[in-house]
Each structure stands twice: as structure tokens, then as C-alpha cells.
């Protein structure tokens, strides 16, 4: 039985804890600044859950540490907790968090441990799908990510914030920033999500994909949004966040060369984002515990795991990937 520390028991952290306790029979140690929430989650998990009221970044005795709390502090938390030597799995999708976590690569290598960056729905499942799809190509030239839906309140706030901020795209070997809310594109997600208008936003997927795929010319990420979302993205949130959003989806479009011919492959998945993120994080934790991560250092799942084995484990937890069979419209813009 492994001991897994989970810092932050919001929608994703609680789902992850549930998976680890019920499916994997692990012991979980929970930390959160919200004591009432902590009590409620621990009580619902039973005797395998233990509350730890220490500071969030205080040393912790665990086989793996998961960062699932509020955004924009993950890099500092990981920096403080790395000294303990346990692998760290970070679930966030904030661009500054991902940048900060990737910057810990050298330190993690020196310590001989791993920081899994972006182990959620997107990034996370998107990276695994990209790595899985890439096996069909001789050379992957473009990866375009799209996501729809939000998990808990923190995810909804992050969605709102990122739509109003500049997207970071990889284009012909250089990073480019584009205005958030621009670049409307109709993306077809797995049913029942279907067609959604998607826009550029401050999303971290390209930062994780570019190091994983040599020869990648373009990497972009978009999110589904309504016109009202775009209009209000630069304002404070005008209404309270919902406890949890409805079904969401991710879509990964790969373009490249296969047998000398240009080819396109579209993969995706549909689920409640917090549920899927909890399952992805749980599989990432199992990979870390079982020593199945490819290397030490800080990187995304596309670099760290065997995508086929990861998707098989994920399917066993009810999160199933899908592929789009049929003609895909040609892409003209960025």
C-alpha cells in the first residue's frame, strides 16, 4: 500500500483521492487551506484517508505528492517539496505554473526524482493522446489541441482568466503570442459535446508538447467558449461559479508524414473534466509509484509515459479515448 499526499481537495483532488482509496487501495494524506472541505472529503473517504494540518509546503512523508490546489503556486510548492525526494504530480493548467514547474527540470534530475507537469484533462490526457497518435506517423509536424468544459470552481475561474490572456503558440520553431479570444475555429468534439466554437487562450499544452516531439512545426491550443465568455473574459467574473460543470471533452489533431504522404489523425475523449482529470492524475500516480515514468526531471505526460499503457489503465477507470473517422477540414490559419 502506497502513501499519496494530495495538496488541495477541490473537485479534482477529491476525485483523485477517491480513485486512489477505492481502486488502488492506497493511503491518502490530505492537505488543504479549507478545513471544512478537508473534513468533509476525509470523512467521505473512510479510514484510508488522513488529514494533515501542517503548512501546505511543509515536509511530508509520502511516496508521491500531488499538487491539486489553487493555481499559480504550484511551482513554489513543488520547489519546496522536491527536497523530500518523492515524485510530484501537478494537476494544474495555469501557464505560469507549467512554466515554473518545467524550470525545475534540472533540480529534479539532480535529486533523481520526477515532476509530472500537467496531469489532468488538458493538459494531461491531451498529451497522452498526442503521444499515442504520434506513433502512427513517421514525423509529426503539427498538433492542435482543443478543450471544452470546466471542472470545479477553480477550473471555471481559470477558464475565465485564460480566455482573456494571450495564447502562446509554437510556429515554425519559435514561440508566438496571439490575443486570447481570437482565432475562432469550429472544432468537432466527441458526442454529446459535438461542434463548438473554440478560441485561443492562455493554455499551457504547447509548452509540454514541443519538447516531446522533435520536428514539430506548429502547436496550438484552443478552448470552447461562447460570445458572452469572450466579451466578459477581461472583466472580473460577474456571477458565482458552479460547484461542477457538465460534460466536457478534449480533441487532439495531429498532422504529419506517414510513408511519404501527409496525413491527419484526430483523437479525443469525453467526460466530466474533474472526473477525467482525477483519473488521469490517479494513473500518473500509479506510474510514479511503480517506477514506470521514463525519466527523472520535469516534463509532461507525452515525454514521461508509454501512452498505450496509460490509455489502457485509463480505460479501466472508465475514461475512454476515441478517434474521428472521416474527412477533416483543412486548416488554413494558425
Amino acid at each position: 500500500m502506497a502513501r499519496v499526499a494530495i495538496i488541495g481537495v477541490g473537485a479534482v483532488g477529491a476525485r483523485l483521492a477517491r480513485q486512489l482509496v477505492s481502486t488502488d487501495a492506497d493511503e491518502v494524506v490530505l492537505r488543504d487551506v479549507d478545513r471544512a472541505r478537508l473534513d468533509m472529503v476525509a470523512q467521505s473517504l473512510g479510514e484510508r484517508a488522513r488529514i494533515d494540518t501542517a503548512e501546505l509546503t511543509a515536509p511530508i512523508d509520502a511516496d508521491v505528492v500531488v499538487l491539486a490546489g489553487r493555481a499559480r503556486v504550484h511551482a513554489d510548492q513543488a520547489d519546496a517539496l522536491l527536497a523530500g525526494g518523492a515524485p510530484i504530480v501537478a494537476v494544474g493548467d495555469d501557464l505560469s505554473d507549467v512554466r515554473g514547474l518545467l524550470a525545475l527540470d534540472r533540480r529534479a534530475r539532480q535529486l533523481g526524482t520526477t515532476v509530472v507537469v500537467g496531469a489532468g484533462f488538458a493538459p494531461g490526457l491531451t498529451c497522452v493522446l498526442a503521444a499515442h497518435g504520434a506513433r502512427r506517423f513517421d514525423l509529426v509536424e503539427e498538433i492542435h489541441i482543443a478543450k471544452a468544459g470546466t471542472g470545479g470552481p477553480a477550473c471555471a475561474r481559470q477558464h475565465h482568466r485564460s480566455l482573456g490572456r494571450a495564447a502562446v503558440d509554437w510556429r515554425d520553431g519559435a514561440w508566438e503570442t496571439r490575443p486570447g479570444g481570437s482565432g475562432r475555429e469550429l472544432c468537432w468534439f466527441p458526442e454529446p459535446i459535438g461542434a463548438q466554437d473554440c478560441y485561443r487562450a492562455e493554455l499551457p499544452d504547447p509548452l509540454l508538447l514541443v519538447p516531446a516531439f522533435a520536428g514539430l512545426r506548429r502547436a496550438t491550443s484552443r478552448m470552447a467558449a461562447t460570445r458572452r465568455d469572450r466579451l466578459t473574459a477581461r472583466l472580473p467574473m460577474l456571477w458565482p461559479t458552479h460547484p461542477e460543470g457538465g460534460p466536457g471533452a478534449v480533441r487532439v489533431e495531429l498532422r504529419g508524414q506517414r510513408d511519404g504522404v501527409r496525413d491527419t489523425l484526430v483523437l479525443g475523449a469525453m467526460d466530466r473534466p474533474a472526473v477525467a482529470a482525477g483519473a488521469v492524475a490517479a494513473v500518473a500516480v500509479r506510474f510514479a509509484i511503480e517506477g514506470r515514468l521514463h525519466r527523472s526531471g520535469a516534463a509532461g505526460l507525452a515525454e514521461l509515459v508509454d501512452p498505450l499503457a496509460f490509455l489502457q489503465d485509463l480505460a479501466a477507470r472508465g475514461v475512454r479515448a476515441a478517434t474521428f473517422d472521416g474527412a477533416v477540414a483543412s486548416r488554413s490559419g494558425g
Binding site: 469550429l186 466527441p190 461542434a195 466579451l231 475512454r320 476515441a322 474521428f324 473517422d325
Partner: protein
């Protein structure tokens, strides 16, 4: 009179903003055929 003028200005500005939001981005073309299928069998073996 001044109130009517202000109302027209507000409506005009709202229309401009709506047009800008509507026109930014090129949209896309829906798939002409095919559909989503769960990965199974050899694709996950």
C-alpha cells in the same frame, strides 16, 4: 433629445462591438462525413 442621442450612440457602440466579436476569427468547416468511434482492439493493444 439628449437622452435619445445617447441611446442611439449606445446602440451604435453595442452594434460595433457585436460586429467585431462576430467577425474576428474565420470559423471553420464542419466534417463532411464520418464520426467518433471509441478506441478498442488493436488500437489499444
Amino acid at each position: 433629445m439628449r437622452m435619445i442621442r445617447r441611446a442611439f450612440v449606445a446602440i451604435g457602440m453595442a452594434a460595433l462591438v457585436a460586429a467585431a466579436v462576430r467577425l474576428r476569427g474565420s470559423g471553420g468547416v464542419p466534417p463532411q462525413s464520418g464520426g467518433w468511434r471509441e478506441l478498442s482492439g488493436p488500437e489499444l493493444d
